[in-house]
């Protein structure tokens, strides 16, 4: 029997290798591997063998089967590719794509910003978008009737005033998370990045009533202005690119002392303040710099309101518009910020 197995195998191999078409191969497959094929005929004989021979013969038959199978499939590939070389094939035919979705540019911006700060140990948080006056203003050293409040065009919610926390407002900035974060973490170190929806009563090409801000807050022993600069420069390099520069200028916020305005060199004119082609002033910036947003050293009153001893700890904070900051990335030039909140697929599919 051993010899017969060997012969069937050799015969099959020879015929397979000599085959000239796929159809011929199929005939050979039926002849050797089919239900009534040569191999199955052999298998049927196995139960009649002596018990000590059964295992050995079984293995030999299986081995022959798998060699024939492999040879068949190799030969099939060979014949098909030979045929393919001569049949017309158009490699430029368009692919059938899976559906392609789009994450909104603001989601992409928020993730990128959060990621940059999380890499240097900032904890991402989110605080109420509908907030009490206490957290939005009063705890930030802006008592009722303070003229500084005019800068925040605040929406008021038609709701009862809370005896402890005052009126209900739509938070006009992420700074309302500062005292909440101090209360949550109870004790420095604090490194917070708070990215959230904010609302202000304004609508024009550079303002939408709903917008997003990201707020950084760092509180620890010995935090100073040099640390603030270090953090902002790190962010600017990571987010805008190594060639972009930042600078701090004096400013005023009630909840920081000292306070700064942070500028970044203009991505359009690269700080030259004029368009190189026309020689006219740069359309985007004033004097080569763009205002990114505010920053400052946390006011001791704010630390106190958050239950932190300003004699032991100091901190810095900054809060910038996500839309505004992202639109300052070089290359992305959306003239009207309201476009971001349009549901037009022709816009959404670009990102």
């Amino acid at each position: 029997m051993e010899e017969r197995i060997q012969n069937i195998k050799n015969e099959a191999m020879a015929q397979i290798l000599g085959a000239e078409s796929v159809a011929e191969l199929e005939e050979l497959r039926i002849k050797y591997l089919g239900r009534k094929g040569a191999i199955n005929e052999l298998v049927k004989e196995i139960p009649n063998l002596l018990p000590e021979k059964k295992g050995f013969m079984g293995r030999l038959v299986n081995e022959a089967r798998s060699i024939i199978e492999n040879t068949l499939s190799d030969k099939k590939v060979e014949l098909e590719s030979k045929k393919a070389k001569t049949t017309w094939f158009d490699p430029t035919i368009p692919g059938i794509k899976p559906p392609i979705g789009h994450l909104h540019i603001l989601t992409q911006a928020k993730e990128e910003i959060a990621g940059i700060f999380e890499k240097i140990g900032f904890v991402r948080v989110r605080y109420p978008e509908v907030e009490w006056d206490w957290f939005a203003f009063e705890s930030l050293n802006m008592p009722k009737q303070h003229p500084a409040r005019d800068e925040w065009e605040t929406f008021f919610v038609d709701s009862a005033t809370n005896p402890k926390y005052g009126q209900m407002v739509l938070t006009p900035h992420t700074s309302s998370g500062q005292v909440r974060e101090m209360e949550r973490s109870k004790k420095p170190p604090i490194r917070m990045v708070n990215i959230a929806k904010c609302y202000r009563r304004q609508s024009d090409v550079s303002h939408t009533p709903m917008f997003h801000q990201f707020e950084g807050l760092v509180v620890d022993a010995g935090i100073n202005i040099v640390n603030l600069k270090g953090t902002l420069d790190y962010f600017a390099r990571q987010f805008f690119g190594a060639q972009r520069k930042t600078r701090l200028r004096p400013y005023h916020f009630q909840f920081t002392e000292p306070s700064f305005e942070v500028d970044i060199s203009c991505g359009i004119c690269n700080g030259a303040a004029h368009s190189t082609s026309s020689g006219q002033g740069c359309k985007l910036c004033k004097a080569g710099w763009l205002e990114l947003g505010g920053a400052g050293m946390v006011h001791p009153t704010v630390l106190k309101n958050g239950g932190i001893d300003p004699k032991k700890y100091s901190g810095f904070a900054f809060g910038w518009g996500v839309e505004r900051t992202y639109m300052m990335k070089s290359g992305l030039q959306i003239g009207d910020i309201r476009t971001l909140y349009s549901a037009d697929l022709r816009f959404l599919k670009q990102f």
Partner: protein
């Protein structure tokens, strides 16, 4: 607040050869921000942003004083020229031309002088030119002098027609609620009470002090004698009245920030000079000046080491001292402790050692500081934050062709909820318009509107993840993070597949229960839940027949099981076969599949693979973890299935 300052006017008080461009740059780096500079004839105009704390710089003179401190830091020579005055009338506590009673809680310094025989006419060209440059329309010499003084020194003044003041008597007092006054712009006000007002001898109100004068005492073309009126008012009172009445004025926006009472004397003397010169008038020989508590320099103590540690550089004593002195502060050292006296024009806003630090730091120049990320311990991330989970969901939907939108959470009344406006929803007291008046309770109307905007581009599906604001009595609203999605050009099954895929990816074994609710077509909505937690809903909305889903993201996070556990791969192959049934029309296939699956615990999987009219083919996988099922065993299970389905759904196997 932005103010415009002509370079030529600035040069009256600032001696320097620096060019406007350079001055603007230095200002922006160390002091007030120069928004732009522009040419005007042979003059240059600065537009300067004055922050609310630095009302002392909202004038030509104030900016010259600031420039004289800043420019030398850039090695530019600059010096401040004092306001020159000739009028030298003595200040007295009473005068015979006016009888006054003043509440000093409302007005810390009350100063006035009678100017007689004014000749009203046009002011000279140079004054008109300057006023036009700063954006003030010239009117006549009296009004122009008032405005000119305000722009030059930053102190508002008022001119009364002296002869219109009954009995030449003034009582400066708090208003009573409901009192009325007509201001010189013709508006009548009913006062809220607690406002600073002046009444004359007849008991009529003649001035809404610090905001606008009364019409009944205003200067007109027949005025002969004027009272030049220069005061320091209680800033909080001015602010409150001006905001409550919505009566804003340049004067109010200066007074509400707290002015320097020491500025009053310079202003009134400069005013006398200008009126004498331009109106050929005769000032009285005495100036009434009621100033019971003159400014006493306040002292702030701090240390060199505080300045150094907050600044982050080892700045030395002489530099700290030079900077502070240049800004008008006085410094006394006791070893490394310092006492800093604050000049009167900064007294309102310099209170803390942090304020002293700011003065030193800004003149040292923030641009001169090095930059270094803080070292120190890193805080631990709180558990259970939703950000990664939310992003995972967004990524999934994007991967299946979803397009994310951000729509405004402030909506019109008809877009508040899935089925119109409910009884309780938060509303803004001061909306921008009716289309953004309410805080939405559902993403659905906004998403349907977004879908409509894109009709013609099917197929597409839009999704949004955003908070909705559910009112809560006496508390802030519950901000519930919702995920909503709307389909266009999708079949119901395709859309449902996406919803099912999300749940599968999040490893949530969710239950879909048909249940009707307002806003959805009857019989076309499923409630989605897991254990007893409601996760969301899916179905066909009444609105546009839109296919819509929404999930409560926090509930998904609670039910999701992101860390998979390993189930051993079956050792024995399963057997797969298709069974086709025909059903009556009103059959729910979801229930059929559920029933098939529950017929026997050796059924590993049931899928709908084909449908034709009322016939549906199900692919059933039979599997036993311990052995290969024999044909006999499979047959037994199959019979069980057929019997159950035929009976329960009045179906027929094919």
């Amino acid at each position: 607040m932005d103010i415009i300052v002509p370079h030529s006017w600035l040069k009256d008080y600032l001696k320097t050869t620096a060019k406007p461009e350079r001055i603007a740059e230095c200002f922006s780096l160390c002091g007030p921000s120069v928004e732009r500079i522009q040419k005007s004839g042979d003059d240059t105009l600065y537009t300067i942003e004055v922050t609310t704390n630095r009302v002392d710089t909202s004038s030509v003179y104030g900016l010259a004083r600031e420039a004289a401190a800043i420019l030398p830091r850039f090695e530019i020579k600059a010096s401040l020229q004092p306001v020159k005055v000739q009028a030298n009338q003595p200040l007295t506590k009473s005068v015979d031309y006016l009888n006054v009673v003043v509440d000093h809680e409302l007005c810390s310094r009350f100063t006035t002088v009678l100017i007689k025989d004014v000749k009203i006419g046009k002011s000279p060209d140079w004054m008109q030119d300057r006023l036009k440059k700063v954006g003030s329309r010239p009117i006549n010499n009296i009004v122009d002098v008032s405005n000119y003084l305000m722009f030059e020194v930053g102190q508002p003044v008022h001119m009364f027609d002296y002869d219109k003041i009954k009995d030449h008597k003034m009582i400066l007092r708090e208003s009573k609620k409901g009192e009325g006054i007509t201001t010189l712009d013709g508006k009548s006000h009913e006062l809220p009470g607690g406002d600073i007002v002046i009444e004359d001898g007849s008991g009529n109100l003649i001035d809404l002090a610090g905001i606008m004068g009364g019409k009944n005492s205003a200067v007109d073309e027949n005025t002969k004698n004027v009272l030049l009126f220069v005061q320091t008012y209680n800033s909080a009172r001015i602010r409150k009245t001006s905001m409550t009445l919505a009566q804003r004025s340049d004067a109010a926006s200066l007074f509400e920030k707290g002015l320097d009472p020491e500025l009053v004397e310079t202003t009134i003397r400069r005013g006398i000079d200008l009126l004498t010169e331009l109106c050929l008038a005769k000032p009285e020989n005495q100036i009434l000046d009621l100033y019971p508590t003159p400014y006493k320099e306040k002292e702030i103590t701090t240390t060199l080491s505080f300045i150094q540690s907050r600044l982050g550089v080892p700045i030395n004593k002489p530099m700290v001292q030079d900077i502070l002195i240049s800004l008008g502060f006085k410094v006394r050292w006791h070893a490394n402790n310092m006492s800093v006296s604050v000049p009167s024009w900064r007294a309102n806003e310099v209170n803390l050692q942090e304020d002293i630090l700011e003065e030193v730091a800004r003149l040292y120049g923030y641009f001169n500081l090095p930059s270094k990320i803080m070292s120190g311990e890193i805080p631990e991330k709180p558990q259970g934050q939703p950000f990664d989970f939310e992003m995972k969901i967004k990524q999934l939907l994007k991967g299946w062709g979803g397009v994310e939108v951000y729509t405004c959470s402030l909506v019109s009344e008809n877009k508040v909820d899935i089925s119109g406006k409910p009884s309780w929803v938060l509303k803004l007291r001061n909306p921008l318009g009716a289309d953004t008046e309410y805080l939405r309770l559902s993403l659905s109307p906004s998403l349907v509107a977004a879908k409509r905007q894109n009709l013609g581009q099917e197929p597409f599906f839009l999704f949004e993840m955003s908070n909705v604001y559910l009112p809560t009595r006496g508390q802030l609203p519950e901000e519930k993070m919702m995920l909503g999605g709307v389909f266009a050009g999708f079949t119901y099954q395709q859309a449902k597949g996406i919803v099912e895929a999300v749940l599968q990816e999040l490893r949530i074994s969710a239950k879909f229960t048909p249940s009707d609710t307002k806003g959805f077509n009857p019989n076309q909505r499923l409630e989605i839940s897991c254990k007893n937690l409601n996760l969301g809903q899916f179905g066909i909305l009444e609105q546009d027949r839109s296919i819509y889903f929404e999930f409560d993201v926090e509930a998904l996070q609670k039910s999701g099981f992101l860390n998979p556990t390993y189930k051993p791969i079956p050792k024995y192959p399963g057997q797969i076969e298709d069974i086709t049934f025909s059903f009556p029309t009103n059959t729910r296939l979801g229930e059929v599949i559920h029933s098939i699956k529950n017929s026997d615990n050796q059924i590993a999987n049931v899928e709908l693979v084909d449908s034709f009219e009322n016939s549906h083919t199900f692919r059933v996988t039979y599997q036993d973890p311990e052995k290969t099922l024999t044909n006999k065993e499979v047959k037994k299970i199959r019979e069980k299935i057929i019997m159950k389905i035929e009976k329960k759904f009045t179906a027929h196997v094919k």
